[in-house]
Amino acid sequence: MIRLTGIEKRFGLNKVLKGVDVVVPAGSVTALIGPSGSGKSTLLRCVNLLEAPDAGEVEIDDVRLSFRAGERPRKDAVRTLRLKTGMVFQSFQLFPHRTALGNVMEGLVTVLGWRPDRARDRAMALLDKVGMAHKAEAWPSTLSGGQQQRVAIARALAPSPRVLLCDEPTSALDPKLAAEVVDVLRTLAHEGVTMLMATHDLRLASTIARNVVFLDDGLVVEEGTARAMFTAPRDSRTRSFIAHITETAVHAWTD
C-alpha cells in the first residue's frame, strides 16, 4: 500500500507538486497520467526519496515519514523507504559494466549482503519470470530496449520491494518492444504486485491499472477506476488529455 498525503515539492521558485494525495491499495496498480511537466516523475521520485518532498507524508505499509521544507530526511529513513520500493526508469539505467544476471544480483549482494550463490538463484528465478533467463550472461549493450527494460524490472524486484514505481516504462520503446514489457508488467499485476506507474501508454494504463490518477500542474485533477477515467472523464482537462493520448496511441499502432 502506498499513501501519499499533501506532497509538495518545489525546485527554486517553480512549485511542481502542490499538495498531492494518492492512495494505491495493496495488490493493485495505479496509473499516473498527465501532460508533460505536470509532475508525474517528480511525484514518483518523492516516493523513494530520490527527491525529498518539501511537505507531506509518504506511507508505505507500516512505515510513515513526514517531511518539512529544508529538513533532510534521516539516512535510515531513506534506506527503509528505498528497500520498500523498487523503481523502473524510462531509460532502463541498467549497470553497463555488469551482465544481466549481475544487474539483478547487485542489490541482493551489495545491499542485503546475501551470499552470491543464493543471490544467483533468486536472480535467475526473476530473469526467468521476465523471460530473460536465456540472456543471463549478456551485457546490457547487447540487449534490445525491451530486453533491457525486462532485466531492469527483475533488478527492481530482486530485493523484494513492497511496491514497484515505474516511470514511463515503455515510452523509450517502439510498440513491439513495448508490448513485451507490458506483458511482463501485466503478469506482475495479476500476481498482486502493488504498482504506481507514470505513463503515456494507453495500452499499459488501460489493460493493467485498476485506478487512474490524472495530474495536471502539480495537482490531482481527477481520479477513478481506469474504466471510468477512460470512458467517462468528468473534468474537461482530463477529457482533452485522454482524447489527445488516444489519438497518438492510434497513430503509434497504425504506423
Binding site: 523513494n48 523498487g86 523503481m87 549497470f95 547487485e106 549493450s141
Partner: protein
C-alpha cells in the same frame, strides 16, 4: 664491430642502471602518488566543501599554468633560501607528484562526472548508499573511461623525468650527459638514451592496450565507447 655500436654497448650498462635505479622508481612512485593526490583532489572538487574545493582549483591553476622545470627549480634551488632543504631525488618526487596530481585530478573529475546521473539513481533505487553507489557503480564505469587519458599522463611522465637531470638527479638522461662529457659523442649517447626511453614507454603502451582490452569485455557500453 663499428665504433658507434661499441660505444653504445659499453655505455648501455650504466644508462640502464641509471634508468632502473632512478627513472623507473621516480616514474612509478610519482605516478602512484599523483594518482592518489589527484583522486583526492577530484573528490574534494566534486563533493567537498566549497572553501576546500577553491583551494584545489587554486592548486590545479598554479601547477598547470607554470612550467614543470620551473617548479622543480623552485623546490630544489628555491626552497633552501626559505630554510627548506630537500635532497634531489625527494625534491623531484615531490615536484612530479604535485604535477601529476594536478593533471589527473582533472581527468578523474571529468570521468566521474561523465557517469550519467541515472546510474546514481538506479543505485539508490535498489537501496545503495552513496559510498556503495560510488564504489560499485560509478567508479568502475569511470575507471574504464579513464584508462586512455591516464595512460597518456603516465607515458608523458616517463619522458618528463629527464627534467630531473637539471636538479642533479643522476637518472637516465644525466647518465648520458656524463658519458658525453668524457667521450664527446653526443649523437650516439643521446640517441641511445632516447631508445631506452622509447623502450620504457612502449612497455607502458602495451600494458595500456591490455588494460583496455580487459575493460572491453563488456561489449562496450553506451556513452563510454572509446
Amino acid at each position: 664491430m663499428p665504433h658507434w655500436l661499441e660505444l653504445m654497448a659499453a655505455s648501455f650498462g650504466s644508462l640502464m642502471v641509471a634508468g632502473l635505479v632512478f627513472t623507473v622508481p621516480l616514474t612509478i612512485l610519482s605516478f602512484a602518488g599523483g594518482l592518489a593526490l589527484g583522486s583526492l583532489a577530484a573528490m574534494v572538487r566534486l563533493f567537498g566543501p566549497r572553501p576546500l574545493a577553491s583551494l584545489v582549483r587554486f592548486y590545479v591553476w598554479i601547477i598547470r599554468g607554470t612550467p614543470l622545470l620551473v617548479q622543480l627549480f623552485v623546490i630544489f634551488y628555491g626552497l633552501p633560501s626559505a630554510g627548506i632543504l630537500i635532497d634531489a631525488f625527494p625534491a623531484a618526487l615531490i615536484g612530479f607528484t604535485l604535477n601529476v596530481g594536478a593533471y589527473t585530478s582533472e581527468v578523474v573529475r571529468a570521468v566521474i562526472a561523465s557517469v550519467p546521473n541515472g546510474q546514481w539513481e538506479a543505485s539508490y533505487s535498489i537501496g545503495m548508499s552513496w559510498s556503495q553507489a560510488m564504489r560499485r557503480t560509478v567508479l568502475p564505469q569511470a575507471a574504464r573511461v579513464a584508462v586512455p587519458p591516464l595512460s597518456n599522463s603516465f607515458i608523458s611522465l616517463v619522458k618528463d623525468t629527464s627534467l630531473a637531470a637539471a636538479i642533479t638527479v643522476p637518472e637516465l638522461f644525466q647518465a648520458a650527459q656524463r658519458i658525453v662529457a668524457v667521450t664527446y659523442e653526443p649523437l650516439i649517447l643521446y640517441v641511445e638514451a632516447a631508445l631506452i626511453y622509447l623502450a620504457f614507454s612502449s612497455v607502458l603502451s602495451i600494458l595500456q592496450a591490455r588494460l583496455e582490452r580487459s575493460f572491453g569485455r563488456s561489449g562496450g557500453f553506451a556513452g563510454a565507447r572509446p
